[in-house]
């Protein structure tokens, strides 16, 4: 089954099977692309208005000085979890007629090692990946450097993947 990856796929954020035939690209209807674009605008406005994109707010979080960021992340998780339970309970299909599924995340050492590494980067930059795009949008063009560095980090991980403990 694993034809082009030697390691088990552990990416929670990947939605398609990486081993799938690349000629069978799922078409992206215009309506769906527009829907996700609008969802992105909604998400970006919230990140900005709630100051999640602020290095100062992230520092206040890591110094345990201000509850704000704990409140944002905590209440997002609680609301998300309630929504997921509602979806499980009512057993509907998605708008696009897909079955709604939850793919189990398996444990691997990367969640610890990669998690610690990302945490250090989060404190230094004051931005996780979503806010990087938002900060650029809010007018700080220098964050393009952070984006390019993050792309380099992702690429180097992909290059070294077979040699890292997983």
């Amino acid at each position: 089954m694993q034809t082009n990856t030697t390691l088990q796929e552990t990416d929670i954020e990947l939605n398609t099977d990486p081993c799938a035939d690349s000629s069978a690209t799922t078409p992206l209807p215009f309506s769906l692309a527009l829907t996700f674009l609008v969802a992105g605008v909604y998400f970006g406005v919230l990140l900005t208005k709630a100051q999640v994109i602020s290095w100062i707010r992230i520092q206040e979080m890591f110094h345990f000085q201000y509850f704000h960021m704990y409140g944002v992340i905590g209440s997002a998780i609680i609301t998300g979890a309630l929504g997921v339970q509602v979806l499980r309970y009512i057993k509907i299909r998605s708008v696009t007629q897909q079955a709604i599924t939850i793919r189990k995340v398996t444990f691997q050492k990367g969640q610890i090692l990669g998690g610690l590494i990302f945490g250090i980067g989060w404190a230094l930059t004051g931005a996780c990946p979503g806010p990087i795009f938002a900060v650029i949008g809010s007018g700080y063009s220098v964050f393009i450097v952070i984006l390019v560095s993050a792309l380099a980090g992702t690429w180097v991980y992909g290059r070294l993947r077979n040699r890292l403990p997983h």
Binding site: E13, G80, I136
Partner: protein, 185 residues
């Protein structure tokens, strides 16, 4: 009456509205919300270099590129249309600490003494932007997700490895805050 639009939004408004995107994405097209994977898709599209990790069908994940482009637009709109200039609120202890490192200008929540093109070639600017950005990209992919993928989506779905990853995000951040930043700022 509409003053609230222009002031910062409290956590109990923004947090639940952000969290709603998890069930929303599942309901729209059985999608998992996750932003850091976009970095992987861009690598796979631009410089796959025959690396197995980037040899997958990134075109099927194009929806996420639209989502991230939307985040960029949303921040642009919120900053230019939904924000009035005001003094940025900061904890007094953090203000004193940053002032001791000559960081005093943060009109929109980002220290402009630290995050600017001029600062890029100083030690602290280089570490915070170039090194920090690299660690964000490397660490999120090694962990298989970021704050949106693991912390919000994963924990919402009761995936314990995502809770573990989120705890490690926090531990890494606390380590950098107390053991790295004081020496480089």
């Amino acid at each position: 009456m509409f003053d609230w639009i222009f002031t910062p939004w409290p956590w109990y408004v923004a947090g639940p509205l952000l969290g709603l995107t998890v069930p929303l994405f599942m309901w729209i097209d059985n999608k998992r919300l996750g932003i850091s994977s976009v970095l992987r898709h861009i690598c796979a599209a631009a410089i796959p270099a025959k690396i197995p990790f980037f040899s997958y069908n990134w075109r099927s994940e194009r929806w996420n590129l639209f989502f991230v482009f939307g985040i960029f637009i949303g921040a642009l709109l919120a900053t230019n249309l939904l924000t009035t200039p005001a003094t940025f609120q900061i904890d007094a202890r953090l203000q004193t600490y940053l002032a001791s490192h000559q960081i005093t200008q943060y009109p929109r929540g980002l220290p402009e003494d630290l995050f600017s093109w001029d600062s890029l070639f100083t030690l602290r600017g280089f570490i915070c932007m170039v090194v920090g950005g690299f660690l964000v990209g490397f660490g999120t992919r090694y962990a298989g997700g970021c704050t949106s993928g693991h912390a919000i989506t994963g924990i919402s779905q009761f995936q314990w490895p995502s809770l573990l990853a989120t705890i490690c995000f926090m531990l890494g951040g606390i380590f950098a805050t107390y053991c790295i930043l004081p020496f480089i700022l």
